[in-house]
């Protein structure tokens, strides 16, 4: 390869800094925090929760520092220069000829997710201080929450797929621990198992995908870059090099996508996510809406070149990712209409939004999808924490919107305001953050030729607006019902036993603060995180406000990897420099051959993406659809729930077709029944029966025969070997010891000076021996 200086006058040295170089500390801090909490937590004054909050604050500070230095690095780079990730690699272990490394690779995508995860984790831990006060496993809760954050952060900074897998699995484990936090309730531990096994089903895909990529790419990456086939940079460059056959990369992409389906709750493995709401609300907020479930999306975004090449993303009108994403958007949104549990509405809404991200990635809208991770994290975390605030302070630990809520806007002004802001952000109303990300996804999906999916996105936006209006109406408007109306004064015990399924953590009967005061606003530890998140739900969209021109597209500048052909100047891939052969297309953007054709004498680390030009006419269409959803749903809610319109109430009972549809939705498309009754039983039943038969007839038969023979042999051994040989030997050695003891007895005179004399004479003899040997 050439010397770098020949081809790159424009390239300047990229700035780095302490925070970028030491980004690997970000996941280390919560790991240490976890160890301290689990070992000493119960003895600390705040039961270990202070360590959790402090370690998350530490990670947040480091992430913020890294983010600002990354921004300096990007802004200081020349036009069209490839911004190399900040890489630090250490040897982990070595076996045979294979070397495994561990390390960090920080680029824009890592930075944005690091900031989101550390930020939301910090707020959720602060919120949990109040929400879980007095819980019987308070310390363990904070330990698991901290370990979870460590896993996610490790996955985000990972340089290679091994560390990625490690973080991924840590998250799965913590998810299991936290969903089943109140395992005394059978339903909770069942939900935890279901989540774990469903996600595990997908995880097989991750293992298979990593293995395929390793064996397919290792030779190439070692030769060209000096990296192993586990390195994410190596895999990315390999996927875009034109080297891999289309079959192998397609299979690898499908395997990895199955993992993403499981983790991100995509159809048909989405069933675990709504059940995961059995965990405490902060867990739902952190794990099952804003961070962990985006791990699947993150996987696709991280290894985007593999999917880009494997599915030929810009070349077709539909592929597996967009199909799964599109189906997920619609089916999850439809399910959200029939839920009475506020957290389940939000859970299905999460599933649906994750569908948007997947569909965006599948259709080549990488930047809007990543931006949607960013904005969605804020408003969805806020919505979940609002739901927690309601159950904590107003509805007596119930999440049932129809029975125990209604009219709460007067009692909980802060919760109400933050909820409304986040709902508008989720629906994608201008100028809330969801508009800038979701509308961009829909727009770019259409721009890249996926027209069917653009329509699905618009229908999804309509449904989102409608079901969120329904949830808002049932919760905050109308007349107070059930616990919200103070009913639990009379039926206290009955409520405690029937509505405890979600939050049985507080010993209700003794210190029930709201039994006396009815619904009221929550404390500051709950409302302050809500207000911070609502502010971001309102404002974070302006970080990539496409409608206001290119200078507003900060996230695009900072996060999107530059698709330029890079010279592999040295084998470590570090000092690669831009070749500057990107051509300027007619609209002033650099177009590089990355992704579309095989790069000559150079490497690509990222495919060239297309961006839809913003047009208010297109945005107006989606905004009108969203407003239609809001208004129609509002009118229906007023008619159905407040005026009890005779034409609407009981419609599902009177109309057979609608009734069937309702039952179909209410039973979640019978997917759970399919999995549990058909698949699990079909596999488990015959195998279990076969195993039982095998056990009874063959194993037991063998066992009995072996046992009989053993008995006979054992009897003979006892009489002959044990009694005669062994006992004889023991007795003889005992006698010998006794004799020796008798001979040596006089030496133990008890006189100190005699012992001293023996000691010194022994030393003298030893010295003599030494002298003789040495001469």
């Amino acid at each position: 390869m050439f010397a770098a200086s020949e081809v790159t006058e424009a390239a300047v040295a990229l700035s780095s800094g302490w925070f970028l170089e030491h980004a690997w500390l970000i996941p280390i801090i919560p790991v240490i925090g976890f160890a301290i909490i689990i070992l000493f937590g119960k003895r600390l004054p705040m039961k270990g929760s202070e360590i959790g909050v402090l370690s998350m604050l530490g990670s947040l500070a480091l992430s913020a520092g890294a983010a600002s230095q990354w921004i300096t690095r990007v802004d200081g780079a020349a036009e069209g220069q490839f911004i190399t990730p900040v890489v630090r690699v250490w040897n982990w272990w070595q076996i045979g000829g294979m070397k495994f490394t561990i390390g960090q690779s920080i680029d824009g995508l890592s930075i944005i997710v690091l900031v989101v995860v550390a930020f939301i984790s910090t707020l959720v831990q602060i919120y949990s201080l109040e929400y879980l006060r007095g819980d019987r496993r308070y310390t363990h809760f904070f330990a698991a929450l901290t370990l979870f954050s460590a896993g996610m952060l490790a996955m985000v900074v990972a340089e290679d797929m091994i560390l990625f897998l490690l973080g991924w699995e840590i998250m799965g484990l913590c998810s299991f621990m936290l969903i089943g936090h109140w395992w005394e309730e059978g339903a909770n531990s069942r939900a935890a198992l279901k989540a774990f096994f469903t996600v595990r089903t997908g995880d097989i895909g991750l293992l298979v995908g990593i293995s395929i990529l390793y064996f397919a790419s290792n030779e190439w990456t070692t030769k060209e870059l000096g990296l192993s086939g586990f390195s994410i940079r190596g895999i990315s460059a390999w996927a875009l090099s034109g080297e891999p056959g289309s079959t192998v990369i397609l299979i690898a992409a499908i395997a990895l996508f199955i993992a993403a389906i499981g983790k991100s709750g995509q159809f048909p493995l989405h069933t675990w996510l709504p059940d995961a709401m059995a965990g405490p609300t902060p867990v739902s907020s952190l794990l099952h809406s804003s961070t962990m479930v985006v791990a699947g999306v993150f996987l696709v975004a991280r290894l985007y070149p593999v999917f880009f090449t494997g599915f030929d993303i810009l070349g077709t009108g539909s592929n597996l990712i967009t199909i799964i994403g599109g189906i997920t958007i619609i089916i999850a949104a439809a399910l959200a209409f029939v839920q009475n549990d506020i957290k389940k509405v939000l859970a299905y809404s999460t599933v649906s939004q994750l569908g948007y991200m997947m569909m965006g990635l599948g259709a080549g809208a990488w930047t809007p999808a990543v931006f949607h991770i960013f904005t969605h994290a804020f408003f969805k975390a806020c919505l979940f924490l609002c739901a927690g605030s309601i159950s904590h302070s107003a509805s007596h630990h119930s999440f049932d919107m129809k029975k125990d809520m209604g009219g709460l806007r007067k009692f909980m002004p802060i919760t109400f305001t933050t909820w409304i802001i986040s709902t508008l952000a989720l629906c994608g109303v201008f100028p809330f953050s969801g508009f800038f990300s979701k509308d961009e996804i829909i727009d770019n999906v259409g721009h890249n030729g996926y027209n069917t999916f653009m329509i699905i996105g618009l229908v999804g936006a309509f449904m989102t607006a409608a079901y969120m209006t329904r949830a808002t109406y049932l919760t905050f408007f109308g007349a107070p019902r059930g616990a919200a109306a103070g009913e639990h004064h009379d039926a206290h015990d009955a409520h405690a036993s029937t509505h405890d399924a979600h939050d049985p953590h507080v010993p209700h009967y003794e210190d029930d603060s709201h039994a006396a005061s009815g619904p009221h606003e929550s404390g500051l530890l709950i409302t302050v995180p809500l207000m911070i998140l609502a502010t971001l739900a309102l404002g974070s969209g302006f970080l990539n406000a496409t409608p206001f021109g290119e200078s507003w597209e900060r996230i695009k500048t900072w996060v999107e990897p530059s698709a330029v052909v890079v010279m592999a100047a040295s084998s470590d891939g570090h000092s690669a420099e831009a070749s500057g052969d990107a051509v300027v297309s007619e609209d002033g953007h650099h177009e590089s051959p990355c992704g579309s054709e095989t790069p000559e004498d150079g490497l690509c680390y990222a495919p060239q993406l297309k961006h839809a030009p913003f047009a208010w006419s297109k945005a107006a269409v989606s905004l009108i659809i969203v407003f239609a959803g809001l208004v129609i749903s509002w009118l229906l809610c007023v008619a159905l729930y407040t005026r009890k319109d005779k034409r609407l109430v009981g419609l599902t009972q009177r109309n057979a077709a609608l009734g069937a549809g309702y039952r179909f939705l209410d039973n979640k498309y019978y997917l759970d029944a399919l999995y549990e009754n058909v698949i699990v039983k079909a596999i488990a039943g015959p195998i279990a029966a076969g195993a039982y038969w095998f056990n009874q007839h063959i194993l037991d038969g063998i066992l009995h025969a072996v046992a009989g023979t053993s008995r006979t042999i054992a009897g003979w051994v006892y009489r002959n070997i044990d009694q005669r040989v062994v006992d004889g030997a023991v007795n003889t050695s005992g006698k010998a010891t006794r004799g020796a003891g008798g001979v040596l007895q006089p030496v133990q005179s008890g006189k100190v000076s005699q012992y001293g004399a023996l000691l010194f004479s022994a030393a003298a003899v030893a010295a003599l021996v030494l002298v003789i040997i040495n001469t």
Binding site: Q748, S753, G756
Partner: protein, 99 residues
């Protein structure tokens, strides 16, 4: 050379110490004899350190002095407790360990 004289002195001190440990009946005297042995060793360490031109031996001697101080402390407290219990410090009377 000089070193020989040091070593001879150390050997003499060592032998006196060994004699004291074996022959003396008084516990305190035995402890003092042990101190002699230790200091003989110190002398050896310093002599060899001088001959090799390195400070390692002297450092070691400092450690030995510190350990010897601790050892005397433990030894004297043992003697004191023996005295309190038995009103004597004669080692010949302490023969409970006779086998």
């Amino acid at each position: 050379m000089f070193v020989n004289q040091f070593l001879i002195l150390a050997a003499i001190l060592f032998c006196i110490g060994v004699y004291g440990v074996i022959a003396r009946k008084n516990g305190v005297m035995v402890l003092m004899a042990i101190e002699l042995i230790l200091n003989a060793v110190n002398l050896n360490l310093i002599a060899f350190s001088m001959r090799n031109g390195s400070a390692d031996g002297q450092t070691f001697a400092l450690f030995v002095i510190a350990v010897a101080a601790a050892e005397v402390g433990v030894g004297l407290s043992l003697v004191l407790l023996i005295y309190r219990n038995r009103r004597t410090i004669s080692l010949d009377d302490l023969s409970e360990m006779k086998g």
